[in-house]
C-alpha cells in the first residue's frame, strides 16, 4: 500500500535521491512513535476510534442506513472503506504542508531536492494508514462483510491519483506556508468542511438531487464512492476513473510547479 507518489518520482530522479526519499519516509514513520511505548499502535488506534464513533453516532443515533446498492454490507464497513483513504489524504496533506517548516534546519544547511520532504510526508501517511486499512478490511471480512479482497490492486490504482492530489495540494501549500502562516489555519477549516461535504459517512445517493452535481464534481466524493464500489461490488475500473486521475495529475503538476518556483527561496524565509 505504500506506493503512491514515489512510483512517479523515483525513475526520473535516479537512485541517489531514491535512497534519501526512503530515509525521509522511514524517519517520518518511525518519528511518529519515537518516545512512546506502544509505538505504531497509536497511529492505528486513532482511526479505529474515529470509525467506532462515526459508526455509533450515524448508524445507531441518526440511523443512516447502507444504501440498497450494497447488499449485506454493514455501516461499519461502508464508512471504513472511505474513511481510511480520507485519513491518508487529509493527514498526508497536513503533514506535507508542515514538512518544509518542520525541516527548516535541514533546508538552511544542506542542499537536496526539497520536494522529497513533501513526498515523504505523504508516503509515510500512506504506509501507516495503508497497513491499518488492510488490517481493518481483513477484520471486516472475517466478520462477514462481503469484501472483494481480490480487487485490492484496483484499490491501490485508485489510491494513487487520490494521493497525488494530496501531494500536489500539499506541495503548493507547503511552499505558500513558508511565506504566509495563514495557510495552516485555513487548511484546518477547509478540511473539516470537506470531510462532511464529501460522501464518506453517508452515500452520495442521500444527497438531494439539486446538490448532487457538487458531490460528483468533488474528487474526494468520486474516489470514496468508487472505492466502495470496487471493494463491495467488485466493480472494474470505469472511464470516469481515468478522467479523475487526469485531474489529479494536473493538480499534482500545478502544485509542484508552485513548489518548485518557491523552493529556491525557502532558505530566505526560514
Amino acid at each position: 500500500m505504500a506506493s503512491g507518489p514515489a512510483s512517479l518520482d523515483s525513475p526520473a530522479r535516479g537512485p541517489r535521491w531514491g535512497w534519501l526519499l526512503f530515509s525521509f519516509t522511514r524517519r517520518e514513520v518511525l518519528g511518529r512513535y519515537a518516545g512512546s511505548v506502544s509505538g505504531l499502535a497509536w497511529t492505528l488506534l486513532h482511526p479505529l476510534a474515529q470509525l467506532a464513533i462515526y459508526a455509533f453516532v450515524f448508524s445507531h443515533i441518526f440511523r443512516i442506513g447502507v444504501p440498497e446498492g450494497y447488499p449485506r454490507v454493514s455501516y461499519l464497513a461502508f464508512v471504513a472503506a472511505a474513511l481510511w483513504p480520507w485519513i491518508m489524504f487529509s493527514e498526508g496533506l497536513q503533514r506535507a504542508m508542515a514538512s518544509i517548516g518542520a525541516n527548516a534546519g535541514l533546508i538552511r544547511k544542506v542542499a537536496f531536492p526539497h520536494r522529497l520532504l513533501v513526498y515523504a510526508a505523504v508516503l509515510a501517511c500512506c504506509a501507516i494508514h495503508g497497513v491499518g486499512f488492510i488490517a481493518v478490511l481483513a477484520v471486516l471480512t472475517a466478520l462477514g462483510d462481503p469484501i472483494h479482497l481480490l480487487r485490492l490492486p484496483l484499490v491501490v490504482v485508485l489510491l494513487v491519483p487520490y494521493m497525488l492530489l494530496a501531494t500536489g495540494i500539499g506541495a503548493a501549500l507547503a511552499a505558500l506556508h513558508i511565506l504566509l502562516r495563514d495557510v495552516e489555519h485555513g487548511l484546518q477549516v477547509v478540511l473539516s468542511v470537506l470531510f462532511y461535504a464529501s460522501p464518506i459517512l453517508y452515500p452520495a445517493s442521500l444527497v438531494p438531487q439539486s446538490m448532487r452535481v457538487w458531490v460528483e464534481m468533488n474528487p474526494l466524493g468520486w474516489f470514496s464512492e468508487r472505492l466502495r464500489e470496487v471493494l463491495f461490488l467488485g466493480s472494474p475500473l470505469v472511464p470516469g476513473d481515468a478522467l479523475a486521475a487526469l485531474g489529479c495529475v494536473a493538480v499534482f503538476a500545478g502544485g509542484l510547479w508552485v513548489f518548485q518556483r518557491l523552493s529556491p527561496h525557502f532558505e530566505d524565509f526560514l
Binding site: 535512497w19 530515509s23 544547511k109 542542499a111 505558500l176 504566509l180 518556483r261 518557491l262
Partner: protein, 405 residues
C-alpha cells in the same frame, strides 16, 4: 573530467534576501517570486562576487561577522540560489555548513549517520561500506547507539565531521566547524584535512582563525559587506585583513604638527630600503632605513625620538638620539639630518607606523610628531609583533636525579 575547467567558478554572484517585516511585504514578495519579478523589498548579502577555485587550490574565506561569508559558502554548496550571476561547480560538493545539522535528536548516532549520509547524496551501499570507518573516526564509543539528544555538543560535532570524511568530495566546504570540539579531535580533523588536501582535495574554509586559513589554504578571499575585497595569497590577505581590523580598533591619535614658530620641528621624514630608494613596503628580515630632517631654531642639534607602533596603536619599540654620543649631520643652517637603520628588520608581517618626534636639544620637551606608515611582508606562521632571535636544539635527556620514581 578536464582539469582545465575551474572546480568552482562564480561570476557576478549576487544574493538579495527579501525583507518581510509586514504582511503586505509577504504578499508582494510571494507574487514577485511566483511570477519572477524583481521588485521585492530586499537587502543585499552578496554583491557581484567573482571567484574561481581550481582543483587542489584550497581557498580560505575571511571577513567580519555578517560580511556574507556564510551566504557565499551556502551559494556554492547549493543551499542558497543567487539572485543574479552564475555558479558553476565541476565536481562533487561536500558541505559542512553546520555540523550535525542533518541530525534528528531522537535518533541514535548510528541512525543519524544513515540519514545524514543519504542527505549528502550517498547511496545505501555507500553507507554500508563506510559506516564502520565513520564510527571509528567519530570515536564516541558506545554512545553511537544512544539518541543524539543525550550527546554533548562536542560529540555531535565528532559525528558530523566523521560523516563528512566518508563522502570524499572534490570540494569540501566548511563553515567555522573547526572552532568546536576538543583539542585532540581538532587535531584529528586538521590531520584529516591535510591528508585530504594532499590527495588532491580542495577545501573551501570559512574561519576566523587566521592560523587555520594560513595553514590549510594557499589562497584567501576577504569578503567585506558582501563584496570581494581582496583575493590572493592567504598570507597577504590575512595580514591585510588583520591590519584593517587593527586600524579600525585603533584609538585614532591624530598626528600633531607644531605650529610654525621658534620650536624644534620634524621637517621631513621618510623610509627607504637598503639601497636608498624611498619605500613603504619591506621584507621581513630586510632593511628599513628611516631618514629624518629636523629644524632647530637655535641651531643646536635637536633630539630625535622614534617609536614604532602597530596599526592598532600597540607600542613596539622606541628610542631617542641622545642615548649615545651620536651627532646628526647639519644639512643646512638650523637643519639636521638623521638616519636610523633597522637591519635585519625583525618585525613580523603587518602594517606599522613609525612616529618621529622632535625634542629640544636637552631632550626634555617634545614638540612635534610625524607619522610614516609602512608595511612588512613575509610568509611566516610566527605569532606576535617581532621575531626574537632564538635557536631550536635537540632537547637534553632528563637528569637521573629528576623525575624518576
Amino acid at each position: 573530467m578536464s582539469d582545465a575547467r575551474p572546480l568552482v567558478s562564480l561570476r557576478g554572484v549576487t544574493k538579495d534576501y527579501p525583507k518581510v517585516a509586514t504582511g503586505g511585504d509577504r504578499l508582494r514578495t510571494l507574487t514577485a517570486l511566483l511570477f519572477r519579478r524583481h521588485d521585492m523589498p530586499h537587502f543585499r548579502a552578496l554583491d557581484s562576487v567573482d571567484l574561481e577555485v581550481r582543483r587542489g587550490e584550497s581557498l580560505g574565506i575571511i571577513g567580519e561577522n555578517g560580511a556574507g561569508k556564510s551566504t557565499l559558502l551556502k551559494a556554492i554548496a547549493g543551499v542558497v540560489r543567487p539572485s543574479a550571476g552564475a555558479i558553476e561547480v565541476n565536481g562533487r560538493v561536500g558541505a559542512l555548513l553546520e555540523l550535525g545539522s542533518g541530525f534528528h535528536p531522537d535518533y541514535t548516532g548510528r541512525e543519524n549517520i544513515h540519514l545524514s549520509s543519504a542527505l549528502m547524496g550517498l547511496t545505501r551501499r555507500d553507507v554500508r561500506e563506510r559506516i564502520d570507518s565513520i564510527i571509528e573516526f567519530a570515536d564516541i564509543g558506545e554512545h553511537i547507539d544512544e539518541p543524539i539528544k543525550h550527546y554533548s555538543s562536542g560529540m555531535v560535532v565528532r559525528l558530523g565531521f566523521a560523516v563528512a570524511t566518508a563522502l570524499e568530495p572534490d570540494v569540501l566546504i566548511t563553515d567555522e566547524v573547526l572552532a568546536v570540539g576538543d583539542e585532540s579531535f581538532q587535531k584529528k580533523c586538521i590531520a584529516w584535512l591535510e591528508r585530504y588536501r594532499a590527495n588532491g582535495g580542495t577545501l573551501l574554509l570559512c574561519s576566523h582563525s587566521m592560523y587555520h586559513v594560513q595553514t590549510l589554504c594557499a589562497h584567501a578571499a576577504w569578503i567585506h559587506h558582501g563584496r570581494l575585497r581582496m583575493l590572493g595569497n592567504s598570507f597577504d590577505v590575512t595580514q591585510e585583513y588583520l591590519t584593517w581590523h587593527e586600524e579600525r580598533n585603533a584609538s585614532q591619535a591624530p598626528a600633531q604638527r607644531a605650529p610654525e614658530g621658534p620650536y624644534p620641528r620634524v621637517m621631513k621624514a621618510w623610509t627607504e630600503d637598503g639601497t636608498g630608494e624611498p619605500a613603504a613596503v619591506f621584507a621581513q628580515g630586510g632593511t628599513l632605513v628611516l631618514q629624518a630632517h629636523a629644524y632647530e631654531p637655535d641651531d643646536r642639534a635637536p633630539v630625535l625620538l622614534f617609536g614604532i607602533v602597530r596599526a592598532d596603536g600597540t607600542s613596539i619599540y622606541g628610542s631617542h638620539s641622545n642615548e649615545s654620543d651620536f651627532q646628526p649631520a647639519r644639512s643646512a643652517p638650523r637643519q639636521f639630518a638623521f638616519e636610523v637603520r633597522f637591519e635585519p628588520l625583525s618585525l613580523l608581517p603587518g602594517k606599522y607606523r613609525l612616529r618621529v618626534h622632535a625634542l629640544d636639544a636637552e631632550g626634555l620637551r617634545l614638540f612635534d610628531t610625524l607619522d610614516i606608515e609602512f608595511v612588512v611582508r613575509g610568509e611566516t606562521r610566527d605569532y606576535g609583533l617581532v621575531a626574537l632571535p632564538h635557536q631550536w636544539r635537540p632537547g637534553r635527556a632528563v637528569r637521573e636525579a629528576v623525575g624518576t620514581s
